[in-house]
Symmetry: C2
Subunit: 301 residues, 2 copies
Amino acid sequence: MSLELRHLRYFVTVADELSFTRAAQRLRISQPPLSQQIQDLEAVLKTQLLLRTSRRVELTAAGEALHARAKSILEQVDAAVQEAASIGRGERGRILIGATGSILSGGLADLLAGYRHEFPEVTTTLFEQAPRLQMRALQDKKTDISFIRLRPESDDFASELAWREDVVVAMSSIHRLAGRKRIALKDLRDEEYVALAPESSEFAASIRDSCVAAGFLPRIAHEVVDAQSITGLLAAGFGVALVPSSIARFTTGEIRFRSLGASAPAADVYIVHRNGDQSTALRAFMAFARRFFQSRLKPRD
Amino acid sequence: MSLELRHLRYFVTVADELSFTRAAQRLRISQPPLSQQIQDLEAVLKTQLLLRTSRRVELTAAGEALHARAKSILEQVDAAVQEAASIGRGERGRILIGATGSILSGGLADLLAGYRHEFPEVTTTLFEQAPRLQMRALQDKKTDISFIRLRPESDDFASELAWREDVVVAMSSIHRLAGRKRIALKDLRDEEYVALAPESSEFAASIRDSCVAAGFLPRIAHEVVDAQSITGLLAAGFGVALVPSSIARFTTGEIRFRSLGASAPAADVYIVHRNGDQSTALRAFMAFARRFFQSRLKPRD
DNA sequence: TTGATTTATATCCGAGAGATATGGATGAGC
DNA sequence: GCTCATCCATATCTCTCGGATATAAATCAA
């Protein structure tokens, strides 16, 4: 015979009611098996818990002590069940997110704000890292999900489009092209470029590919490691840069952005995560993200 | 289907071992019912707890959380069982004891010291009260047991002899009888007495009865409410007093005690408790007390 | 003393915990 | 790359034990 929660549930009810008959009613069982289970419990403890005459039931000292303990235990069991179920539904947990600064301000921040509002019990931790490091972090399980401007090739990762962004051209307001309203990619063939170092970003490579497709090889005059540095160089008059349009949001100073029209390369942002082991919290996050971007696209239709 | 401790025990074992086969061995059951019980648990929680391939078992986030909780719950169940059993064996609990100061120093203190040594988990609370109040406190369940110098009549109480004491005569060292080695009760017929007020002590009444039996009615010159006051009055030369021999122990100053020899009235101390509801701790205490006094009597044999 | 109420005992039934046998998947080793 | 060993899941059976019904025993009220 081993102790089970049933014994504790029954005992607590009897101790609360101080009556086997009423306790049995509350427990939706008949009185004899209740008496039996209490006797079993007492046998396991080798201790009298209740003093019963046919007229009154009262607790012994051991019964008083167990009553308090058992009540607390049952509450904790309940809490544990709720917690596990809640984690299972993805309502609770922790998601580790990788992203770069421009992606954060480009739409991710809004997504996270909306998500935290609907799933307040999920902790989201954001790692601002260069794209290459993000992939490493994903692989090493340092992060669970990444927002990144290039679709990964590897079979280890699953990816889907988060949102679309155009590439725009950025330059100082005193640049000779700053007066033009619309600029095509091929108009930029003779410019000097400020670009992200290709080893820090797949995006840099894809921009270069777009230029090649437009018939020229961009002359990279300056390379920077951090996207933040680009605008500083542009403001000082160092050529032009091809950047995702969302960069405009967090840029101050004398920088002008011009659309590239139909010739604009895509700067789509993808959601990437490891294949296979997505937790429920992550699945729920992905589902939320899909709904979120879906509803955001509508106004543009 | 309801959650039982079995589910938690099984789950914790599997989570510890990360193997159904090994867990089943540790649990002394076969592997299929273990798988079944884990599935039942997951069904109750509506949540996956373990990711199992035929080659590896690992915990989900929900499983991790439940593992920690369940372990703690099982430990608490264990502790609660131990505690209840321990209280049931009288090894733990609280005993409320009534006594007077003279009884405490007359032998009770030694008993309590020995008892606490053998039952360190039982809290003993001592109430120093006048005998009448002790009976009241017992009746009102303010105390569980009393050490008192008179056997109670009422059927509500059970009593047994704790230890025997003689009554001795006490007087100032300058009293005219202080030089006598032995004094019989009847020699004291013409003395003036310092006595406890009869309304505060049954013992006072029993002393008076002893004097009457010896052929005289004691002349009470001074009455005190508190036994402590007696010696003060005696030291000041106010007559004599008939007191339990143990009083000598905690008396300082110029007081002499003389045995009354064969004519000494008894001042036996009784253990009194309510009939019926003695807790296990109290029963264990009584058993200890009997053993204690038994072994103390032997040296006198 | 009788009747009502409450717990304990006796007996029966059925759900379900656990055993055995087996299937299916996966990684190791030749 | 095939075979074998290993491990978890499924299917089926058995038998324990939880719960129901009927009834006895005890106690209090009238």
